[in-house]
Structure formats: C-alpha cells, structure tokens
Symmetry: C3
Subunit: 164 residues, 3 copies
C-alpha cells in the first residue's frame, strides 16, 4: 500500500521532471544563439539532429556549429539580435516528445529594433543516455504560408511530423 | 509518520501539477489561434467561458469558434500572424486560479513583421471534471488605458476581477 | 528502504519547487512594471538587491520604487508599455541561483507599437527566510555590444558574474 503510493508519486514526479528538462533545454536556445555559443547550441540536438528552417537546413552538430560561426549569423549578433521564444507546449510520450512554440527574431537595424522573423516551431525530442535532446526542429515563417500553420496545429496536438 | 510524509508529498506534487496543467493549457493558445484550430481553441474555455477583449467579446464555445473562423481572423492568419504569449504567472486557490501575462500579436504586413497589439491578459480558470479550463479571459490593449494596468495589477496579485 | 525512497522524492520535489518559485517570481516582473506596482516590484529583490541596467542602476528597494514612480517610467506606462519577458532558464545551486532570459520593451508610439529595447538579462538570486529573491539583475541592450552577449553566455551556463 505504501509502496504503491510511493510508486505513483515517483511516476508523477518523473512526468514533471521530463517536461521541466525539455522546457529548460529549449529555453536556452535564444541565449546560446545570441551569444554565439556554437558548441553549446549544437549540443541541444542529438549528434545527428536536424534543424530544418525555411532559410537553411542543417543536419548534425558540425552543420549547427557552422551556422552559428557563419558570417551571416555573426553579422546578426554583432549588429544586435534577440531570438525570443514564446512559451513551449510540450507533449511527452515515453522516451519521445513533441513541443511547439513561436519565436521572434528581433534585430537592431538603423538604431532601432525590428521584428525580422516570426516563426512557427515544431520540435521533436528523444530521451537518450544524456537526457533529452532535439532530434528535429522544423521552423517556418509565419507569413501566411500553410506549412507554418500545419506545424503549429501538429505541435499543439502533440503530433510528430511525417518524414518526407 | 511515513503516511504523513507521503501525504505532504502528494499535496506538494498536486500543487505543481495544477500550475503545470494551467501553464500548458495557456501555452497552447497561440499555436491554436495561428493555425486556425477553432474547436480546439474554444475547448481551452469552459462551455460558457468568456473571452472579453477590447475588440470583441465572446461567450461560449460557439462564439469562440465563430471568432476563429471569421473572415477577420482568417485574414490575419492567411496574411501571417503570430500570437506570442509572455510567461504566465499563475496563482491557484483550491479549484480556481488566476493567471496574468502579456501577449503580442505580430502580423506580416507589406513584407515585414509589425507588432499590431501588445495586450494585458487576466485569466480566470476553474478545475472541472475534465481538468482546468478558462472561465474568463479579459484582454486590454497596452496603449496607456488604465484598464489594462488594472488587469496586470490584479493578475500579479492573484486577484479575481469584480464582475460588472 | 521506504524512508530512502521518500527522502529521494522530497529532494527531487524540492528541486522542482525551487525552479518553479524562481520562474514564478520573475514572471511577475512585467505585470508589476507595466501596472506601476512599485512596492511589489521592488519586493522581487532582496532589500539591498541591485538592478544594473545600461540606462539606470539601482541599489535597494527605495531606488527600485523611485524608478517605477519616476516621471520617465510613468510616462512609459501612461503612453502604453509592455515589458515582455522571454522564457527563463534557471540554474539552482543550493541556496543561490542564476537565471537568464531576453526581454522586449514594446511601447505605444504615434498610434502603433514598436520595440524600444531588446535586452539580455542575467539574474542572480538567493533563498532567504522569505523564499527566493533577486540579488542582482544585470541587463544590457542587444545592439551588438559584447557585454550583452557575455551576460547571455554566462547565464546559459549558470555562471555568476564577476563582481567589479
């Protein structure tokens, strides 16, 4: 009886810890991107993780590092950039999870701040030996394209994307 | 003694789960709004729940669905819209709760993104048979109007709004 | 055996509660700032807490209250202002903690909303008799200055800032 109550507590606590770990992982993205912390940003993903964005698509840590160290990204952060995430809705299913959020990329341009991108993000994650890591992040510009809406709808339902 | 310790743990865990469930519920709003998921957005509210915004006021699921499927809302999302929420501060009191946050509505207009609205949001919620649902969401534009400031102050204190 | 399992649960739960209390504390900042709730905003800090921003630096509750009640801040909120925080990444180490996030200050100007500031925030906190409070908040404009990037990198790693 006592053992059963404790086992239930352990299970409920584990569920909260999973969500907190994922939320914590994704909350670090903006700070790592805008500080140019290339290796640490890449380490949010599994070694062969994918970041598929409408501007650029990357597979694996080396390509993620290369994105952060590229002249383009360094130009953003040297000019002033804020990758601001909206709150993440996480759906955990055993050792995999789906998360959804919006993000804004705000840049400093001509002495003022402008919103360069508003993006729909769909995240797929997996729990491995070192904890939760991103397997696939898919981002699409919220400029009316149907793909961005499909990402938000799937993410809100906790659904994985069909792999093409 | 052991039973007491377990009972305390159960109570503390329940408090965290309540806050997580509410945070999770509200975190879905933006993705549902911007993907046009009308029924699922309405289901964040109780069947007779209220969304009182300075632009429009709705009571019940049918009016919430009608808002999302309206030409006006469809125009926003076809043009590109991001309803980005700020972090929610939640105060739970038994089976009711108050939450407060900011939200930004960013739209795509003439090839760039602009902040159409910055809104103060005061949320009232209730725990029912199916979990936490919104009973009243009140939103006011942060354009200097005293009402918006009153919503933020009440929400930060965990106070419900007086019903008119 | 049972006692050990319970002790582990208590410890894990305490870790989640710490993070939740800090997240909750910081989530209130925007609502308190934009509603002009001066005393309550100051109370997020320890009595001798520091808010070091590139525009203004404050030490202690009186100076925090004075900032909120100043003509400058009252001008912002009377015109319309939204201090929107990004998600916080918190690293707790015993009775101290470090947190990092972005914030956007959106103001209403000439009938539209503009992003006046995008800021990198590094927070240091301490657990005292009344719970977690801010000891030092350091904010720097994300306009390309290296200081802002250093705040984000330190915060993402859970590192405290060296005191000058």
């Amino acid at each position: 009886m006592t053992d059963d109550r404790i086992a239930v507590l352990e299970q409920r606590l584990r569920a909260l810890e999973d969500e907190r770990e994922i939320t914590h992982l994704l909350a670090g993205y903006g700070a790592l991107a805008d500080s140019g912390s290339a290796e640490e940003l890449a380490a949010l993903w599994e070694p062969d993780g994918v970041y598929d964005n409408d501007e650029i698509s990357m597979v694996g840590h080396d390509e993620l590092v290369a994105m952060v160290t590229s002249g383009r990204h360094q130009g953003w952060i040297n000019g002033g950039a804020a990758h601001v995430n909206g709150p993440v809705k996480v759906t955990v299913d055993g050792d995999t999870a789906v998360a959804v959020n919006h993000s804004l990329m705000v840049i400093h341009e001509d002495g003022r701040f402008v919103v360069r991108r508003a993006t729909a993000n769909h995240w797929q994650l997996r729990r491995g030996a070192d904890g939760w890591r991103v397997t696939v992040r898919t981002g699409r510009l919220l400029d009316g394209r149907p793909e961005a809406r499909a990402l938000l709808a799937a993410g809100a339902r906790g659904q994985r994307l069909e792999q093409g």
